[in-house]
Symmetry: C2
Subunit: 271 residues, 2 copies
């Protein structure tokens, strides 16, 4: 795998065993697409990171440092995925965060074809048994406490399963393990609200902005598998893969990508 890794700006750096990211999952991350050596939608990723820092009462690392790290790990790479991890850094054994933390900043690039409108076959997705616990204080932000996604990911081992849908403990359909979701009902765009679980994805936000620009009718609310069963089109979004149509939800329904997906992908491609 081709790529580079910086820890606090140092190539080949390692992490101290007492890093709070490792001890408690006390940190945040962003997974970003880069094209032609430049991170796409970096401002939106930094905005979500800032919101995460605010919620975790952690200082925001310098955007200049992050941008400079990104430029360095992307040197010589055209298309790549860049993952940024920011933790509250090393500390003594105590849940209570240090008053003056020394953040740990990890930036890793992986050379990879990236397209927000890739032309692969529609996805085959599974409905995961693992649920999302609900806690408004941790919802929306991209923190490192991801055991629910890990357990859901373990349900997707078969090679023909592309992603897994996740429901909250109170049976709402919320997201996929590493993507947000959108349904189309009679020309209207529906997506779950991210109020007590799930992540507010950068591509979700981009699609909502596009929808507003296109004058589409949008409903952000609470939905269930029954709503998915009634949908005309169904697609997933994430920052690296863009808009991906779903072709089949195991045990529930087969979808054919329709005019809404085509319209949004076209609009996304031209912006």
């Amino acid at each position: 795998m081709i790529g580079r890794r910086l820890v606090n700006g140092v190539e080949g750096g390692t992490i101290s065993a007492d890093d709070r990211g490792l001890q408690y999952g006390d940190g945040l991350f962003e997974t970003m697409a880069a094209l032609n050596g430049k991170v796409r939608r970096l401002d939106m990723h930094l905005a979500r990171l800032a919101e995460g820092c605010h919620r975790l009462r952690m200082p925001m690392p310098s955007s200049d440092q992050i941008e400079s790290d990104c430029a360095r790990v992307l040197e010589g790479l055209g298309s790549a995925v860049v993952k940024l991890v920011v933790t509250r850094g090393p500390g003594p054994r105590s849940y209570m965060p240090p008053a003056q933390p020394t953040l740990t900043r990890i930036v890793v690039s992986t050379a990879q074809q990236v397209s927000e409108v890739e032309s692969g076959r529609p996805l085959n997705v599974r409905i995961c048994e693992t649920r999302l616990g609900r806690n408004p204080r941790l919802a929306g932000i991209k923190h490192i406490n991801r055991l629910e996604q890990v357990l859901a990911g373990a349900e997707l081992r078969e090679p023909l399963v592309d992603e897994g849908l996740m429901r909250s403990t109170d049976d709402r359909l919320v997201c996929a393990t590493a993507a947000n979701l959108f349904m189309v009902h009679a020309g209207r765009l529906l997506t779950p609200q991210i109020s007590d679980c799930g992540v507010s994805g950068v591509m979700r936000e981009s699609v909502l902005r596009l929808a507003a620009q296109l004058g589409l009718e949008v409903e952000i609310g609470d939905f269930t598998l029954a709503d998915l069963e009634r949908a005309d089109e169904f697609f997933l979004t994430n920052a690296v893969r863009g808009i991906r149509p779903v072709g089949h939800v195991e045990g529930l329904k087969t979808f054919v990508p329709g005019p809404m997906i085509a319209r949004l992908r076209e609009a996304l491609e031209t912006r």
Copy 2:
């Protein structure tokens, strides 16, 4: 601070930035008391770790290796705290766990006076605003997704606050940030069930075993702050500090340690 640290049995070892413990909080830990160079209740800690590995579908590390690591970090120390962290180890960027993970094992000792019946003043505790989200799949085990405890810990900065009580999102009183809790109602011992959030503490289990041996009436169930307000005695338990009486719950009630606490501490000391 006096102590030693082993990473996969190597002194001074560091962690790879792609360790899943750091990337996703994909791991487990145990915090243990050691007296005279020996870990107390090691069998119970290993049993909880095994349950955690089973739930996270992770192989259990060798108990012999853990015991040998513990003995090494305790060399030359009398009384100490030993923290063990086991993660699913390094892996590529994906929630889906590797089919054959190479676990990371961290064992750290800190020289510290340890007493399960320490004679300090009764604790002053605060009721935290941060709630515990509910997910039965993650309840009871001591995994690394501890952001709720970190946020609750941030509420306890004043030096006179010893611990914080945590409620579930549905208003049940569940635990303290780093301890389980017991109330006494008219001679009966009450403790919250750990079914959808919270950790099943080793000292909680020890107290429940003692209570059974002493023929005490015990209720494991769902309780609220109203139940705490009606309690005659109130104490916290954890593996390092043992049984600690609470003297004051801010804004709720003042307690005086009574006969039940004395009886349990005496029984704990003699076993």
